[in-house]
């Protein structure tokens, strides 16, 4: 097997094991639209990175984390529903990213690979980045599992019981931002939310505990990456969308299971 397909496989698996458990929180806390907004703002990160001539990964991660903090901290204080605010920011940042990149006329950017991912172009240094972030996210989730679950059940009750809700919320937002920053390479900014939400939703139908759901979501994500890559390899279809399609197919299959 050629190197690039092995790298692609490793990258996809590395992302899927982080998006699985984190995606569960996205589903439980109804943050899907939030994930979408963050993902869209990644384009702005690319534009800023090129403009300021800094490492693109750093620029993307930086912009995403700033957006996550702004949404998490300022979003609470603005007299707009979160839904409306996200609707404005999500497409506003996507448009801003596209316009900024068009203004950088002397730079050629493969826009399609940003929008839909380019997993076959993953390099060894990308792999290091993906696995460091996946490990960081999993360690944080393991440490903060109980506080995060308690906060998900009821934030005020958790706060009264002594949990630092602001801290927990920010950590969760930053983790989401980081995972989106690396998942972008795999499926692109337009499809990332599917990688967070769909395996978690599928796993729900087979799980009796939150831990099971997180584990199954990671497993379903990994399976989708493997099968999506295979499909893309044999049928010569775009890889990112093929992976996402596999997660959706898995979800549809799970619907066949009675009662959940």
């Amino acid at each position: 097997m050629t190197d690039f397909i092995l790298y692609a496989l490793l990258a996809g698996i590395g992302v899927a094991i982080a998006t699985g458990p984190l995606g569960c929180f996205v589903v439980w806390r109804r943050m899907a639209y939030f994930g979408d907004t963050l993902a869209h703002s990644a384009l702005l990160g690319v534009a800023i990175g090129i403009f300021m001539d800094i490492n693109l990964n750093v620029a993307i991660a930086g912009v995403l984390m700033i957006f996550a903090l702004l949404l998490g901290v300022v979003g609470e204080r603005i007299h707009l529903s979160m839904d409306t605010l996200l609707g404005i920011l999500s497409h506003g940042s996507l448009a801003a990213g596209l316009v900024t990149m068009a203004l950088l006329i002397d730079v050629r950017i493969d826009l399609l690979s940003l929008l839909f991912g380019d997993i076959l172009a993953v390099t060894v240094s990308d792999l290091y980045l993906i696995y460091s972030i996946s490990v960081i996210v999993m360690v944080l989730l393991a440490i903060l599992w109980k506080p995060l679950l308690t906060m998900t059940v009821n934030a005020e009750m958790a706060e009264v019981e002594g949990y630092n809700i602001t801290f927990l919320r920010i950590v969760l937002l930053l983790m989401t931002a980081l995972v989106i920053a690396v998942a972008m390479k795999i499926v692109g900014v337009l499809l990332i939310t599917a990688l967070l939400v769909t395996p978690a939703a599928t796993a729900r139908r087979f799980s009796n505990t939150p831990e099971q759901m997180a584990l199954f979501a990671a497993g379903i994500g990994v399976l989708s990456v493997v099968s999506g890559l295979s499909v893309s390899w044999y049928l010569d279809t775009p890889t990112g969308p093929s992976i996402v399609l596999c997660t959706v197919l898995a979800f549809l299959c799970s619907m066949l299971k009675r009662n959940a």
Binding site: R30, E159, R204, T209
Partner: protein
């Protein structure tokens, strides 16, 4: 150990230019049930949230006699159906030992709910699950926001009885929000009638006669000025009749 207290001194709170609380002073004591009553918009929830430290008062101070464990039972808990969480697992978020959680459920007479998804619990069952959680956490003070909402009349008095038994068991202080004095009469030591300021406070029989109370609630005849002489299981069967009247019980 002496009883812990929480003292609120001249608490005021505004939201925008609307004054919600004016000069509210009160005292909560461990081992006592204090009930906060008042009409809608009286500032009950705001006051509760100030006691809990969830929001800050604009003016006034709060004194706590020492470090204490607070417990909070929100009016309603909405958990997304995608979270697979049984009642037992919900309790295990507070106490990891399953056996302790099960015995807390038994104490609250809802052990049959252990494997039920938390989202499927009725209002009364949820309150009992939350009380079980309180047993596990041993709070110094427990704050209950309208604990009987969405519970039928019989269930309400049963729940109040359970709450007063719980105070003895845990030796905690309880601050409870209610909008109906008659039902809580038998289960409370101290009543505070709030309508942005404190209209009156004292023992329930005293408050009921107070002009400040009757101004707000009118002269209503008591639905319950006595305790139920038996109680029901959650399924409605009558159990036991070992009830004895307390000295405060004034009916004949």
């Amino acid at each position: 150990m002496p009883n812990q207290i929480i003292e609120l001194n001249n608490i005021s709170k505004r939201f925008g230019n609307r004054s919600v609380l004016e000069n509210v002073s009160m005292r909560l004591e461990q081992g006592q049930i204090t009930t906060l009553i008042g009409p809608n918009g009286a500032g009950k929830s705001t006051l509760v949230r100030i006691v809990l430290g969830l929001i800050q008062a604009d003016l006034g101070s709060i004194y706590k006699s020492g470090p204490m464990r607070m417990g909070y039972m929100p009016q309603k808990i909405t958990i997304d159906p995608t979270l697979p969480l049984t009642t037992l697992r919900f309790l295990q978020l507070a106490e990891s030992q399953a056996s302790k959680c099960r015995s807390a459920l038994v104490t609250m007479e809802v052990d049959y709910l252990a494997d039920t998804p938390i989202q499927a619990l009725s209002g009364g069952e949820m309150q009992r699950a939350l009380l079980a959680r309180a047993i596990l956490r041993h709070p110094t003070f427990l704050v209950l926001d309208e604990p009987v909402q969405g519970v039928d009349l019989n269930g309400q008095s049963a729940l109040y009885n359970t709450i007063s038994r719980l105070v003895e068991k845990l030796n905690c202080g309880i601050l409870m929000v209610s909008h109906d004095l008659h039902l809580v009469m038998s289960a409370t030591d101290h009543v505070i009638c709030l309508n942005q300021h404190i209209c009156c406070m004292g023992r329930p029989e005293h408050v009921q006669q107070h002009p400040g109370y009757t101004d707000i609630f009118g002269h209503m005849t008591a639905v319950y000025s006595h305790s139920h002489d038996h109680h029901h299981t959650l399924q409605g069967q009558v159990v036991g009749s070992e009830h004895t009247h307390s000295s405060e019980c004034e009916h004949d």
